[in-house]
Symmetry: C2
Subunit: 258 residues, 2 copies
Protein backbone atom coordinates (compact mmCIF):
# COMPACT_ATOMS: atom_id res chain seq x y z
CA UNK A 1 0.00 0.00 0.00
CA UNK A 2 2.08 2.84 -1.22
CA UNK A 3 -0.59 5.51 -0.90
CA UNK A 4 0.62 8.94 -0.14
CA UNK A 5 0.88 9.85 3.48
CA UNK A 6 -2.22 11.93 3.15
CA UNK A 7 -4.62 9.40 1.73
CA UNK A 8 -5.39 7.73 5.02
CA UNK A 9 -7.82 10.46 6.06
CA UNK A 10 -11.16 9.41 4.62
CA UNK A 11 -11.26 6.48 7.01
CA UNK A 12 -12.08 8.76 9.89
CA UNK A 13 -14.78 11.20 8.93
CA UNK A 14 -17.17 11.89 6.12
CA UNK A 15 -15.88 11.02 2.62
CA UNK A 16 -14.74 14.56 2.33
CA UNK A 17 -17.01 16.75 0.36
CA UNK A 18 -15.82 20.09 1.62
CA UNK A 19 -12.26 19.69 0.44
CA UNK A 20 -13.43 19.53 -3.13
CA UNK A 21 -15.41 22.70 -2.87
CA UNK A 22 -12.52 24.44 -1.27
CA UNK A 23 -9.98 23.32 -3.79
CA UNK A 24 -12.32 24.28 -6.56
CA UNK A 25 -12.67 27.74 -5.14
CA UNK A 26 -8.98 28.18 -4.51
CA UNK A 27 -7.36 27.04 -7.66
CA UNK A 28 -9.26 29.17 -10.09
CA UNK A 29 -6.20 31.19 -11.02
CA UNK A 30 -4.33 27.97 -11.63
CA UNK A 31 -1.27 29.04 -9.69
CA UNK A 32 -2.46 26.85 -6.87
CA UNK A 33 -1.24 29.05 -4.06
CA UNK A 34 -3.54 27.26 -1.63
CA UNK A 35 -4.98 30.53 -0.47
CA UNK A 36 -7.39 30.41 2.40
CA UNK A 37 -11.07 30.91 1.71
CA UNK A 38 -10.93 34.15 3.65
CA UNK A 39 -8.36 35.48 1.19
CA UNK A 40 -10.44 34.31 -1.72
CA UNK A 41 -13.46 36.06 -0.25
CA UNK A 42 -11.47 39.21 0.35
CA UNK A 43 -10.19 39.34 -3.22
CA UNK A 44 -13.56 38.53 -4.72
CA UNK A 45 -15.37 41.21 -2.77
CA UNK A 46 -12.67 43.74 -3.53
CA UNK A 47 -12.87 42.86 -7.19
CA UNK A 48 -16.64 43.12 -7.23
CA UNK A 49 -16.36 46.59 -5.75
CA UNK A 50 -13.61 47.63 -8.12
CA UNK A 51 -15.53 46.44 -11.15
CA UNK A 52 -18.67 48.14 -10.00
CA UNK A 53 -20.63 44.91 -9.63
CA UNK A 54 -21.32 46.08 -6.10
CA UNK A 55 -22.27 49.72 -5.86
CA UNK A 56 -20.84 52.07 -3.29
CA UNK A 57 -23.40 52.44 -0.56
CA UNK A 58 -24.72 48.91 -1.09
CA UNK A 59 -25.72 46.94 1.98
CA UNK A 60 -23.96 43.60 2.38
CA UNK A 61 -24.81 40.83 4.82
CA UNK A 62 -22.60 37.95 5.81
CA UNK A 63 -25.17 35.47 4.68
CA UNK A 64 -25.59 36.98 1.22
CA UNK A 65 -21.88 37.03 0.61
CA UNK A 66 -21.44 33.53 1.97
CA UNK A 67 -24.12 32.27 -0.40
CA UNK A 68 -22.63 34.19 -3.31
CA UNK A 69 -19.13 32.89 -2.67
CA UNK A 70 -20.23 29.37 -1.82
CA UNK A 71 -18.61 29.24 1.59
CA UNK A 72 -19.65 29.57 5.20
CA UNK A 73 -19.96 32.80 7.13
CA UNK A 74 -16.69 32.37 8.97
CA UNK A 75 -14.24 33.19 6.17
CA UNK A 76 -16.64 35.80 4.82
CA UNK A 77 -16.69 37.43 8.21
CA UNK A 78 -12.94 37.52 8.30
CA UNK A 79 -12.81 39.04 4.84
CA UNK A 80 -15.35 41.69 5.76
CA UNK A 81 -13.36 42.65 8.83
CA UNK A 82 -10.26 42.99 6.71
CA UNK A 83 -12.05 45.10 4.14
CA UNK A 84 -13.34 47.28 6.91
CA UNK A 85 -9.86 47.95 8.20
CA UNK A 86 -8.87 48.81 4.65
CA UNK A 87 -11.68 51.30 4.63
CA UNK A 88 -13.73 49.70 1.87
CA UNK A 89 -16.56 48.60 4.14
CA UNK A 90 -18.28 50.19 7.06
CA UNK A 91 -19.48 47.52 9.48
CA UNK A 92 -22.29 48.40 11.86
CA UNK A 93 -22.72 45.98 14.76
CA UNK A 94 -25.67 43.68 14.21
CA UNK A 95 -26.65 45.62 11.13
CA UNK A 96 -24.43 44.47 8.32
CA UNK A 97 -21.94 46.39 6.25
CA UNK A 98 -22.10 49.25 3.82
CA UNK A 99 -19.74 49.69 0.93
CA UNK A 100 -18.03 52.95 1.75
CA UNK A 101 -18.91 55.90 -0.41
CA UNK A 102 -16.59 58.83 -0.95
CA UNK A 103 -17.68 62.28 -2.00
CA UNK A 104 -15.72 65.02 -3.69
CA UNK A 105 -14.51 66.31 -0.33
CA UNK A 106 -13.13 62.92 0.59
CA UNK A 107 -11.44 62.81 -2.77
CA UNK A 108 -9.68 66.09 -2.14
CA UNK A 109 -8.52 64.89 1.27
CA UNK A 110 -7.27 61.72 -0.28
CA UNK A 111 -5.31 63.50 -2.94
CA UNK A 112 -3.89 65.90 -0.39
CA UNK A 113 -2.33 62.91 1.34
CA UNK A 114 -1.18 61.40 -1.93
CA UNK A 115 0.46 64.70 -2.76
CA UNK A 116 2.37 64.35 0.48
CA UNK A 117 3.40 60.74 0.18
CA UNK A 118 4.00 59.97 -3.46
CA UNK A 119 6.52 62.73 -4.11
CA UNK A 120 8.42 61.53 -1.06
CA UNK A 121 8.44 58.03 -2.48
CA UNK A 122 9.69 59.25 -5.84
CA UNK A 123 12.46 61.22 -4.16
CA UNK A 124 13.55 58.25 -2.07
CA UNK A 125 13.44 56.09 -5.15
CA UNK A 126 15.66 58.50 -7.03
CA UNK A 127 18.10 58.35 -4.15
CA UNK A 128 18.21 54.57 -4.02
CA UNK A 129 17.63 53.32 -7.55
CA UNK A 130 20.21 50.98 -9.02
CA UNK A 131 20.68 49.93 -12.63
CA UNK A 132 18.35 46.98 -12.31
CA UNK A 133 15.59 49.11 -10.86
CA UNK A 134 15.91 51.61 -13.67
CA UNK A 135 15.84 48.84 -16.25
CA UNK A 136 12.65 47.48 -14.74
CA UNK A 137 11.00 50.89 -14.80
CA UNK A 138 12.12 51.42 -18.41
CA UNK A 139 10.64 48.10 -19.45
CA UNK A 140 7.30 49.04 -17.95
CA UNK A 141 7.21 52.41 -19.65
CA UNK A 142 8.07 50.78 -22.96
CA UNK A 143 5.04 48.53 -22.61
CA UNK A 144 2.98 51.46 -21.42
CA UNK A 145 3.85 53.44 -24.52
CA UNK A 146 2.52 50.60 -26.62
CA UNK A 147 -0.73 50.32 -24.68
CA UNK A 148 -1.92 53.90 -24.49
CA UNK A 149 -5.23 53.02 -26.09
CA UNK A 150 -5.77 49.83 -24.13
CA UNK A 151 -6.88 50.69 -20.60
CA UNK A 152 -7.11 47.03 -19.59
CA UNK A 153 -3.40 46.68 -20.29
CA UNK A 154 -2.61 50.07 -18.81
CA UNK A 155 -4.00 49.34 -15.35
CA UNK A 156 -1.46 46.72 -14.29
CA UNK A 157 1.41 48.61 -15.91
CA UNK A 158 0.54 51.77 -14.04
CA UNK A 159 0.27 49.78 -10.87
CA UNK A 160 3.63 48.11 -11.42
CA UNK A 161 5.34 51.39 -12.13
CA UNK A 162 4.20 52.86 -8.84
CA UNK A 163 4.86 49.62 -6.99
CA UNK A 164 8.47 49.50 -8.12
CA UNK A 165 9.00 53.08 -7.07
CA UNK A 166 7.67 52.23 -3.64
CA UNK A 167 9.79 49.13 -3.40
CA UNK A 168 12.94 51.01 -4.35
CA UNK A 169 12.09 53.77 -1.90
CA UNK A 170 12.66 51.15 0.77
CA UNK A 171 10.37 52.45 3.45
CA UNK A 172 7.79 49.95 4.57
CA UNK A 173 5.81 52.57 6.43
CA UNK A 174 5.64 54.83 3.45
CA UNK A 175 4.55 51.88 1.36
CA UNK A 176 1.85 50.91 3.80
CA UNK A 177 0.58 54.46 4.09
CA UNK A 178 0.32 54.79 0.33
CA UNK A 179 -1.23 51.34 0.00
CA UNK A 180 -3.84 52.36 2.52
CA UNK A 181 -4.84 55.24 0.29
CA UNK A 182 -4.58 53.33 -2.99
CA UNK A 183 -6.94 50.63 -1.84
CA UNK A 184 -9.72 53.20 -1.66
CA UNK A 185 -9.26 54.53 -5.16
CA UNK A 186 -11.79 52.04 -6.55
CA UNK A 187 -14.41 53.84 -4.49
CA UNK A 188 -13.86 56.96 -6.58
CA UNK A 189 -15.35 55.37 -9.67
CA UNK A 190 -13.87 54.81 -13.07
CA UNK A 191 -10.15 55.12 -13.51
CA UNK A 192 -8.65 58.18 -15.13
CA UNK A 193 -6.83 55.86 -17.51
CA UNK A 194 -10.06 55.26 -19.39
CA UNK A 195 -9.55 58.78 -20.64
CA UNK A 196 -7.03 58.58 -23.47
CA UNK A 197 -5.91 62.14 -23.19
CA UNK A 198 -5.20 61.61 -19.52
CA UNK A 199 -3.45 58.32 -20.21
CA UNK A 200 -1.07 60.06 -22.59
CA UNK A 201 -0.33 62.88 -20.20
CA UNK A 202 0.22 60.43 -17.36
CA UNK A 203 2.61 58.46 -19.50
CA UNK A 204 4.62 61.58 -20.26
CA UNK A 205 4.82 62.33 -16.56
CA UNK A 206 5.95 58.78 -15.87
CA UNK A 207 8.75 59.32 -18.34
CA UNK A 208 9.75 62.53 -16.62
CA UNK A 209 9.75 60.77 -13.27
CA UNK A 210 11.92 58.01 -14.64
CA UNK A 211 14.29 60.56 -16.17
CA UNK A 212 14.68 62.23 -12.81
CA UNK A 213 15.27 58.87 -11.14
CA UNK A 214 17.85 57.92 -13.75
CA UNK A 215 19.82 61.07 -13.08
CA UNK A 216 19.46 60.58 -9.34
CA UNK A 217 17.74 63.94 -9.03
CA UNK A 218 15.51 63.46 -6.00
CA UNK A 219 14.17 67.00 -6.02
CA UNK A 220 13.10 66.73 -9.65
CA UNK A 221 11.48 63.34 -9.10
CA UNK A 222 9.60 64.79 -6.18
CA UNK A 223 8.40 67.77 -8.18
CA UNK A 224 7.20 65.73 -11.13
CA UNK A 225 5.49 63.19 -8.90
CA UNK A 226 3.66 66.01 -7.17
CA UNK A 227 2.54 67.35 -10.51
CA UNK A 228 1.46 63.85 -11.45
CA UNK A 229 -0.82 63.61 -8.43
CA UNK A 230 -2.21 67.07 -9.01
CA UNK A 231 -2.96 66.29 -12.60
CA UNK A 232 -4.77 63.14 -11.59
CA UNK A 233 -6.96 65.08 -9.19
CA UNK A 234 -7.65 67.71 -11.83
CA UNK A 235 -8.85 65.10 -14.28
CA UNK A 236 -11.17 63.58 -11.71
CA UNK A 237 -12.58 66.91 -10.67
CA UNK A 238 -13.20 67.80 -14.27
CA UNK A 239 -15.07 64.59 -14.81
CA UNK A 240 -17.19 65.16 -11.74
CA UNK A 241 -17.97 68.68 -12.92
CA UNK A 242 -19.03 67.30 -16.28
CA UNK A 243 -21.14 64.58 -14.73
CA UNK A 244 -22.73 67.14 -12.44
CA UNK A 245 -23.64 69.40 -15.33
CA UNK A 246 -25.81 66.72 -16.86
CA UNK A 247 -23.40 65.01 -19.27
CA UNK A 248 -23.27 61.92 -17.08
CA UNK A 249 -22.11 58.89 -18.97
CA UNK A 250 -21.85 56.93 -15.76
CA UNK A 251 -23.80 53.72 -15.92
CA UNK A 252 -25.77 52.76 -12.85
CA UNK A 253 -24.53 49.69 -11.10
CA UNK A 254 -26.47 46.86 -9.61
CA UNK A 255 -26.93 46.50 -5.90
CA UNK A 256 -25.00 43.28 -5.62
CA UNK A 257 -27.66 41.71 -3.48
CA UNK A 258 -28.61 38.46 -5.08
Amino acid sequence: MVTRSRARRPARGIPDDSALRRIAARDIPGGGDARSLAEVACDEIRRAIREGRVATGAHLTELDLAAWLGMSRTPVREAMRRLQSEGLLLIQPFRGALVMRLDAGDMRQMFAVRELLEPAAAAACAANAGAADIAALRAILRQEAASLDDPAALFPLNRQFHDIILEVARNQFLSKAIAGVYSLIPLLGDSNLLNRRHAREAHLQHQQILAAIESGDAAAAEAVAREHVRHSLKTRLARIAMAGSGHSKQKTVKTGKK
Copy 2:
Protein backbone atom coordinates in the same frame (compact mmCIF):
# COMPACT_ATOMS: atom_id res chain seq x y z
CA MET B 1 -45.49 39.77 34.02
CA VAL B 2 -43.94 43.13 33.38
CA THR B 3 -40.45 41.87 32.81
CA ARG B 4 -38.41 43.73 30.28
CA SER B 5 -38.73 42.57 26.73
CA ARG B 6 -35.36 40.99 27.01
CA ALA B 7 -35.77 38.84 30.07
CA ARG B 8 -37.72 36.11 28.39
CA ARG B 9 -34.64 34.40 26.99
CA PRO B 10 -33.53 31.95 29.67
CA ALA B 11 -36.58 29.83 29.04
CA ARG B 12 -35.15 28.48 25.84
CA GLY B 13 -31.54 27.44 26.37
CA ILE B 14 -29.13 26.96 29.21
CA PRO B 15 -29.72 29.19 32.25
CA ASP B 16 -27.40 31.71 30.77
CA ASP B 17 -23.96 31.44 32.15
CA SER B 18 -22.10 33.00 29.28
CA ALA B 19 -23.84 36.36 29.50
CA LEU B 20 -22.32 36.89 32.90
CA ARG B 21 -18.83 36.20 31.72
CA ARG B 22 -19.25 38.52 28.83
CA ILE B 23 -20.71 41.35 30.82
CA ALA B 24 -17.94 40.96 33.33
CA ALA B 25 -15.35 41.23 30.60
CA ARG B 26 -17.04 44.09 28.84
CA ASP B 27 -17.98 46.48 31.55
CA ILE B 28 -14.61 46.82 33.14
CA PRO B 29 -14.33 50.50 32.19
CA GLY B 30 -17.79 51.09 33.64
CA GLY B 31 -19.02 53.01 30.65
CA GLY B 32 -20.94 49.94 29.58
CA ASP B 33 -20.49 50.39 25.86
CA ALA B 34 -21.41 46.75 25.27
CA ARG B 35 -18.28 46.20 23.24
CA SER B 36 -17.96 42.91 21.48
CA LEU B 37 -15.58 40.31 22.83
CA ALA B 38 -13.44 40.75 19.75
CA GLU B 39 -12.93 44.39 20.64
CA VAL B 40 -12.13 43.48 24.22
CA ALA B 41 -9.61 40.94 23.00
CA CYS B 42 -8.10 43.46 20.62
CA ASP B 43 -7.67 46.07 23.33
CA GLU B 44 -6.32 43.61 25.85
CA ILE B 45 -3.71 42.21 23.50
CA ARG B 46 -2.72 45.68 22.39
CA ARG B 47 -2.39 46.73 26.00
CA ALA B 48 -0.34 43.70 26.87
CA ILE B 49 2.04 44.52 24.05
CA ARG B 50 2.19 48.20 24.97
CA GLU B 51 2.90 47.44 28.61
CA GLY B 52 5.56 44.93 27.72
CA ARG B 53 3.72 42.00 29.27
CA VAL B 54 4.10 40.37 25.87
CA ALA B 55 7.54 40.75 24.37
CA THR B 56 8.12 41.70 20.78
CA GLY B 57 8.95 38.55 18.91
CA ALA B 58 6.79 36.42 21.21
CA HIS B 59 4.83 33.59 19.65
CA LEU B 60 1.08 33.74 20.25
CA THR B 61 -1.47 31.04 19.54
CA GLU B 62 -5.19 31.46 19.33
CA LEU B 63 -5.71 28.88 22.02
CA ASP B 64 -3.34 30.51 24.51
CA LEU B 65 -4.92 33.91 24.03
CA ALA B 66 -8.42 32.47 24.23
CA ALA B 67 -7.55 30.78 27.51
CA TRP B 68 -5.90 33.92 28.83
CA LEU B 69 -8.84 36.14 27.94
CA GLY B 70 -11.48 33.62 28.97
CA MET B 71 -13.28 33.50 25.66
CA SER B 72 -13.45 31.22 22.66
CA ARG B 73 -11.10 31.26 19.69
CA THR B 74 -13.52 33.07 17.42
CA PRO B 75 -13.28 36.58 18.84
CA VAL B 76 -9.60 36.07 19.54
CA ARG B 77 -9.09 35.15 15.92
CA GLU B 78 -10.87 38.27 14.82
CA ALA B 79 -8.76 40.38 17.14
CA MET B 80 -5.55 38.80 15.89
CA ARG B 81 -6.51 39.49 12.29
CA ARG B 82 -7.18 43.10 13.17
CA LEU B 83 -3.88 43.44 14.98
CA GLN B 84 -2.16 41.97 11.98
CA SER B 85 -3.63 44.55 9.67
CA GLU B 86 -2.48 47.20 12.14
CA GLY B 87 0.98 45.73 11.83
CA LEU B 88 1.35 44.62 15.44
CA LEU B 89 1.22 40.92 14.67
CA LEU B 90 2.62 38.79 11.90
CA ILE B 91 0.35 35.83 11.25
CA GLN B 92 1.83 32.78 9.57
CA PRO B 93 -0.76 30.39 8.17
CA PHE B 94 -1.17 27.33 10.39
CA ARG B 95 1.70 28.46 12.54
CA GLY B 96 0.44 31.13 14.83
CA ALA B 97 1.44 34.74 15.16
CA LEU B 98 4.53 36.64 16.12
CA VAL B 99 4.52 39.99 17.82
CA MET B 100 6.18 42.24 15.29
CA ARG B 101 9.62 43.48 16.16
CA LEU B 102 11.07 46.69 14.81
CA ASP B 103 14.75 47.47 14.56
CA ALA B 104 16.50 50.82 14.39
CA GLY B 105 16.13 50.89 10.62
CA ASP B 106 12.39 50.43 10.85
CA MET B 107 12.32 53.20 13.40
CA ARG B 108 14.04 55.59 11.03
CA GLN B 109 11.61 54.70 8.26
CA MET B 110 8.74 55.25 10.60
CA PHE B 111 9.95 58.65 11.69
CA ALA B 112 10.60 59.63 8.10
CA VAL B 113 6.92 59.13 7.45
CA ARG B 114 5.91 60.89 10.63
CA GLU B 115 8.08 63.80 9.55
CA LEU B 116 6.02 63.93 6.39
CA LEU B 117 2.58 63.60 7.91
CA GLU B 118 2.58 65.34 11.25
CA PRO B 119 3.82 68.71 10.01
CA ALA B 120 1.09 68.59 7.37
CA ALA B 121 -1.47 67.91 10.07
CA ALA B 122 -0.20 70.80 12.16
CA ALA B 123 -0.35 73.11 9.17
CA ALA B 124 -3.89 72.08 8.30
CA CYS B 125 -4.87 72.49 11.93
CA ALA B 126 -3.46 76.00 12.00
CA ALA B 127 -5.51 76.79 8.92
CA ASN B 128 -8.76 75.44 10.35
CA ALA B 129 -8.61 75.98 14.10
CA GLY B 130 -11.46 77.89 15.70
CA ALA B 131 -11.65 79.41 19.16
CA ALA B 132 -13.06 76.25 20.70
CA ASP B 133 -10.28 74.12 19.27
CA ILE B 134 -7.65 76.46 20.59
CA ALA B 135 -9.28 76.48 24.00
CA ALA B 136 -9.22 72.69 24.07
CA LEU B 137 -5.57 72.58 23.13
CA ARG B 138 -4.76 75.22 25.76
CA ALA B 139 -6.54 73.20 28.43
CA ILE B 140 -4.49 70.15 27.60
CA LEU B 141 -1.21 71.99 27.70
CA ARG B 142 -2.14 73.50 31.05
CA GLN B 143 -2.61 70.01 32.46
CA GLU B 144 0.53 68.87 30.72
CA ALA B 145 2.55 71.62 32.39
CA ALA B 146 1.35 70.35 35.76
CA SER B 147 2.22 66.72 35.00
CA LEU B 148 5.74 66.95 33.64
CA ASP B 149 7.05 64.54 36.25
CA ASP B 150 4.15 62.11 36.01
CA PRO B 151 4.50 60.03 32.84
CA ALA B 152 1.32 58.10 33.54
CA ALA B 153 -0.62 61.36 33.36
CA LEU B 154 1.45 62.63 30.46
CA PHE B 155 0.64 59.75 28.10
CA PRO B 156 -3.06 60.47 27.62
CA LEU B 157 -2.48 64.23 27.50
CA ASN B 158 0.12 63.87 24.79
CA ARG B 159 -2.22 61.60 22.90
CA GLN B 160 -5.13 64.02 23.22
CA PHE B 161 -3.04 66.93 22.04
CA HIS B 162 -2.09 65.15 18.85
CA ASP B 163 -5.60 63.76 18.41
CA ILE B 164 -7.17 67.18 18.53
CA ILE B 165 -4.71 68.51 15.99
CA LEU B 166 -5.64 65.65 13.68
CA GLU B 167 -9.32 66.21 14.23
CA VAL B 168 -9.06 69.89 13.47
CA ALA B 169 -6.96 69.16 10.40
CA ARG B 170 -10.12 67.58 9.00
CA ASN B 171 -8.56 65.04 6.71
CA GLN B 172 -9.66 61.50 7.45
CA PHE B 173 -6.98 60.01 5.23
CA LEU B 174 -4.26 61.96 6.94
CA SER B 175 -5.67 60.84 10.28
CA LYS B 176 -5.76 57.22 9.25
CA ALA B 177 -2.25 57.34 7.83
CA ILE B 178 -0.90 58.81 11.04
CA ALA B 179 -2.93 56.41 13.16
CA GLY B 180 -1.42 53.54 11.22
CA VAL B 181 2.02 54.69 12.21
CA TYR B 182 1.14 55.59 15.79
CA SER B 183 -0.24 52.17 16.52
CA LEU B 184 3.21 50.70 16.01
CA ILE B 185 4.99 53.04 18.38
CA PRO B 186 4.52 50.61 21.29
CA LEU B 187 6.78 48.22 19.41
CA LEU B 188 9.64 50.67 19.79
CA GLY B 189 9.83 50.14 23.52
CA ASP B 190 9.48 52.58 26.37
CA SER B 191 8.02 55.98 25.65
CA ASN B 192 10.23 59.01 25.39
CA LEU B 193 8.03 60.67 27.96
CA LEU B 194 9.57 58.55 30.69
CA ASN B 195 12.58 60.78 30.19
CA ARG B 196 11.87 63.97 32.10
CA ARG B 197 14.22 66.09 30.06
CA HIS B 198 12.51 64.95 26.92
CA ALA B 199 9.08 65.51 28.44
CA ARG B 200 9.97 69.11 29.19
CA GLU B 201 11.35 69.75 25.75
CA ALA B 202 8.31 68.12 24.14
CA HIS B 203 6.03 70.29 26.22
CA LEU B 204 7.85 73.43 25.07
CA GLN B 205 7.43 72.32 21.46
CA HIS B 206 3.76 71.69 22.07
CA GLN B 207 3.45 75.24 23.30
CA GLN B 208 5.21 76.51 20.19
CA ILE B 209 2.89 74.49 17.99
CA LEU B 210 -0.12 75.87 19.80
CA ALA B 211 1.23 79.39 19.46
CA ALA B 212 1.58 78.93 15.72
CA ILE B 213 -1.93 77.52 15.52
CA GLU B 214 -3.33 80.41 17.55
CA SER B 215 -1.84 82.90 15.16
CA GLY B 216 -3.01 80.88 12.18
CA ASP B 217 0.56 80.54 10.95
CA ALA B 218 0.49 77.25 9.07
CA ALA B 219 4.10 77.42 7.96
CA ALA B 220 5.31 77.96 11.51
CA ALA B 221 3.15 75.14 12.84
CA GLU B 222 4.54 72.88 10.18
CA ALA B 223 8.12 73.80 10.99
CA VAL B 224 7.75 73.29 14.72
CA ALA B 225 5.91 70.01 14.26
CA ARG B 226 8.72 68.78 12.05
CA GLU B 227 11.23 69.73 14.68
CA HIS B 228 9.08 67.93 17.25
CA VAL B 229 9.22 64.70 15.29
CA ARG B 230 12.95 65.03 14.72
CA HIS B 231 13.58 65.63 18.37
CA SER B 232 11.57 62.56 19.25
CA LEU B 233 13.67 60.43 16.91
CA LYS B 234 16.85 61.91 18.29
CA THR B 235 15.89 61.00 21.84
CA ARG B 236 15.10 57.44 20.83
CA LEU B 237 18.32 57.03 18.88
CA ALA B 238 20.28 58.38 21.82
CA ARG B 239 18.65 55.85 24.12
CA ILE B 240 19.41 53.02 21.74
CA ALA B 241 23.00 54.14 21.50
CA MET B 242 23.22 54.13 25.28
CA ALA B 243 21.65 50.74 25.59
CA GLY B 244 23.97 49.41 22.92
CA SER B 245 27.03 50.67 24.73
CA GLY B 246 26.27 48.55 27.75
CA HIS B 247 24.30 50.93 29.94
CA SER B 248 21.12 48.98 29.33
CA LYS B 249 18.52 49.61 31.97
CA GLN B 250 15.94 47.78 29.94
CA LYS B 251 14.26 45.09 31.92
CA THR B 252 13.60 41.81 30.18
CA VAL B 253 9.98 41.06 29.60
CA LYS B 254 8.15 37.85 30.02
CA THR B 255 7.05 35.79 27.09
CA GLY B 256 3.36 36.18 27.73
CA LYS B 257 2.72 32.52 27.22
CA LYS B 258 0.88 31.27 30.25
